[in-house]
């Protein structure tokens, strides 16, 4: 292959990549550009850039649509869920990976069923159960429900991670007089960093973007999470497309910021998670 073909080939590659990059960003850019226009402008000049970049629309969206509250609720829900999932999945994954006990494989298979389950199958039964427990329409109730949704995959991943570690490490701790708990906390868990990272990222994405569970379990305005709030806005501001767009942009910002900051962790997390 001579230099010319080589150069042409490289250019082609860049063209392809740029086109794909454009496709990746375009829809997001569309929302932002709508958010900066007025409703009239939207009807008359759909494709072009906004005439005046109305950043005031964002302020209006923040105030009128209460996006701040939604973001706060999403944070309040996601953080405890993350901690709960990582802790209980590590414990369970450790047991499944390194300990021998009757019923181990069956119990693990039961956890795997949850991997394939569609949430819409169980939401109404879940709402009945939470009502009878007094957890309906509460954030703790939502946290526990989201945790339950994420636990199967988390257990699966932690088990795989612990299985990959040499068993001698655990034996060394026990021989020294330590307990299983010491072995887990002092030795195994720190070594399973990549898996923990995976669990964190996957759980975060699932819970932060979840629409169905909050829809069924939360009905107080002040407890709405972001996806729920956004969908509600759609019906509340029917003639004000610009306001909806501005609110959507604001709601998407936390995800994008967190992603930008923790990019490497996200990508390595997803990678680890799914291969196993």
């Amino acid at each position: 292959m001579n230099r010319a073909t080589h150069a042409a080939g490289r250019t082609m590659i860049h063209v392809v990549l740029i086109v794909v990059a454009f496709v990746s960003i375009a829809p997001v850019a569309v929302i932002v550009s709508i958010a900066l226009k007025t409703n009239t402008e939207l009807a008359t000049n759909p494709l072009g850039l906004p005439q005046r970049w109305l950043f005031s629309n964002f302020a209006e969206a923040w105030v009128e649509a209460g996006i701040g509250r939604y973001i706060l609720n999403s944070i309040i829900v996601v953080l405890p869920t993350l901690v709960i999932v990582v802790v209980v999945a590590s414990l369970a994954g450790y047991a499944f990976a390194l300990l021998r006990f009757p019923g181990r494989d069956i119990l693990f298979a039961v956890f795997l069923i949850g991997l394939t389950l569609p949430a819409v199958s169980i939401v109404i039964a879940l709402s009945f159960i939470q009502q009878s427990m007094g957890l309906f329409n509460t954030l703790p109730g939502l946290i526990l429900a989201e945790a339950a949704l994420c636990i199967p995959l988390a257990v699966f991943l932690m088990r795989a991670a612990f299985r990959d570690l040499p068993g001698e490490l655990r034996e060394a701790v026990l021989v020294d007089g330590g307990t299983e708990v010491t072995s887990l906390v002092r030795v195994m868990f720190p070594l399973a960093r990549p898996a923990v990272s995976a669990v964190t990222v996957l759980t975060f994405l699932t819970v932060w973007n979840d629409y169905l569970l909050p829809l069924v379990l939360i009905n107080t305005e002040s407890l709405r999470t972001i996806p729920l709030g956004l969908a509600f806005l759609k019906t509340a501001f029917t003639a004000d497309v610009v306001l909806i767009a501005a609110s959507t942009t604001l709601a998407a910002i936390p995800s994008i910021v967190i992603y930008a900051l923790l990019q490497r962790q996200f990508i390595s997390g997803i990678t680890q998670g799914s291969i196993k």
Partner: protein
Amino acid sequence: MTRGWGRLTPYLFILPAAAIYGIFLVAPLAQTAVMSLWSWNGLTPDYSWVGLDNYVRLLTDSAVWSAALNNLRWVVLAVFPILIGLGLAVLLHQARPAGRGVYRALFFLPYVLATVVVALAWGWIYHPTFGTLNSALRALGLDQLTQNWLGDPQLALTALATAANWTGFGFCMTLFLSGLNTIDPSLYDAAKVDGASTWQRFRHITLPALANTMNAVVLIVFINTVRVFDIVFVLTAGGPAGATEVLGTKIYRETFQNLDIGYGSAIAMLMALIILLTSVVYLRLRERDA
């Protein structure tokens, strides 16, 4: 010292996870299975036992078959993000273009967005009059190509699936990239020395090495496709004229709008069964080949 506890330790370790999982996932699942055997409106303690009637009904219900068919079409369309992801991964990995870190990050961005955000964005793109897509076509003088993307029963499902695929291709690409990173580069060098072409190198080195990754990608994409709900619900609510009704929205409709909880539960059990069986079969088959 820990002898007495020793026997119980594994169970204690599993207990917290099992408790949360059991109460908030398994119990509702069991209740759904039970509810599918009754006819109930969910409001009054006024249920009547119908046994397997709900299942018989759904087997003869053309609306359920049509929804399942839509899921199947969606699955077929989901091949594209897999192939595109594979192609991009190979491109980024083998050709090593400048700025590939930036490209990787950008391609993954759609996956991070909430489905509701994605639905809203693509809703405007697809608007027949002042949507981005048709406006762009008109600006390019291609007026005859403009379509009623979400309103034409022939096109609506494909339009929706495309929006969903847009979020997925970066995810597939990322998985393939990590799989590619595990391949020993000297294999390629040896093959080049032996005179193997690009295509031959791809077929005989790359693809087999990606087998595990491919399994994972296909399975995850399949499960998510059968489970799809959010984007359909927000954008078309199953319309126009049922053209985008999928099993997920059908379950929602029967359970929450028609108040036929038994029937909705039966369809839900059907969906869970489809996913479970297909996953097991697929994994068994691939394990045999490996």
